[in-house]
Amino acid sequence: MTNEPRLTSNSIEVVSALEAIETYFEKGWSDGLPVVPPTPEAVSATLEAANLSPDAILGIEPVKGAVITAEKAAINAVMAGCKPEYMPVVAAAVDAITAPEFNLHGITVSTMGAAILLVINGPIAKELEINSGVSAFGPGHRANATIGRAIRLIVMNVLGTRSDDGLDKATLGHPGKYTWCIAENERALPDNWEPMHVTRGLGESESSVTVFSGLSGAQFGDHASNTPEGILDSFAERIYPLGLGVHEVILAICPEHAAHFDEAGWTKQQIGQYLFDTVRKPESEWVPNGLPSGIKNGGEGVISSLQSPESVIPIVVGGDGGAWSAVIPTWSLGSRSKAVTRKIQSNG
């Protein structure tokens, strides 16, 4: 006899995995790709790996008051293909996306069509083999693919935010809405840089997930510049088109570019200050873009696209070869959705 809380979700009887897959398609419970059939045994193992009770509340979406329980999160994690040991990351990510400042409802229903980018820091990235190197944003790595997918399935199935018959009204959408999870390439950080989660207040030995409401990134190659100023001028050219009022923007810095910051001894703060000082022009020349810049009429002052030097969030990511970095804007340019970092609770 056991007093352990039991799973309470409704269940369906099937005779094969293929039947289960087709059933989930028919019920609108997939993201358009086949799902792993979530058996009670697999879901229980996933909960156990994170030491979670099925009825534990991982997050409450603030606008609708929608509750995300550990049981529902684990079902969707299994469906996404997660190993049980990924569940602590999924649980921390649910906590992060339901923080009021992330504005989950806004970013998932908006015509702007943001995706949810998860960036993992700390020892767990290596333990779970979350890719931070070659083709970090690409396919081929189970942890990256399935943790990001689990979060999207939770948004679709638990919150009902779907594009077919639900609340998702994105005009174009974004391929990152299938899955978007990377780890920071901490091995390639300049010597005087702490990892992103340390910059955001956690300890170096801790593991974390940081969530961003990411829009389509602008990748660029700069194989010619070998100074911080030259590389940042290339970043600046991709920030200008965002317009005014950029509160948060991700700089995805490849290892080759990071090495030049390292050689020059530049800090993250210097990068923010340089871009804040550089991405500016007379107010009257900024093209109104309908975004919530707070500026309606062009004056004569010379102003920056960035709200402050802290508006840029640098992360180091990608493979060693090639000088390809990217600017990744966030929903509402970060004015109404803030990046959120949460510690991943170890079950060890």
């Binding site: 799973l7 979700s9 409704n10 269940s11 369906i12 009887e13 099937v14 005779v15 094969s16 293929l18 039947e19 289960a20 059933t23 989930y24 419970w29 059939p37 979530p38 058996t39 009670p40 879901v43 606008v63 609708k64 008051g65 929608a66 509750v67 995300i68 329980t69 529902k72 079902i75 969707n76 469906m79 504005n103 409802h105 806004g106 970013i107 908006s110 015509t111 399935l153 199935n157 638990v158 919150l159 009902g160 309908g290 919530p292 509402s332 109404r336």
Partner: protein, 108 residues
């Protein structure tokens, strides 16, 4: 010895298993429609825009039609200031004190 692949198992091997529903039933507001006025004559019309670029001209255009066809009293225009979040209860309470009927617009 290299592993041998075996033919795919038949669709139905005679045993069944259970799989779990990934969805959650979320509560839905049960408040019904507000009571409809019999006439707009003398009514104060609230125009609640959501900060989107076109919400203001859309509401103004609708109000112009109402004012032309009905003997409304006045327009009361407010902006909730953030399209992505619900208006605060206090804001809505203040708004409702100033109007008899209300129009809302998204206006993307």
């Amino acid at each position: 010895m290299a592993s041998q692949e075996t033919p795919m198992a038949p669709e139905n091997n005679g045993t069944s298993f259970r799989v779990l529903d990934p969805t959650a039933t979320q509560s839905i507001a049960t408040d019904g429609m507000a009571e409809r006025p019999e006439s707009l004559a003398g009514m104060r019309v609230g125009l609640l825009r959501n900060d989107k670029l076109n919400s203001e001209p859309l509401l103004d255009a609708i109000y112009d039609v109402l004012a032309e066809r009905f003997d409304v009293s006045s327009a009361y225009r407010v902006n909730k200031g953030d399209a992505s979040r619900p208006a605060e209860p206090e804001f809505l309470s203040d708004f409702s004190n100033e109007v008899d009927v209300a129009l809302l617009a998204n206006g993307d």
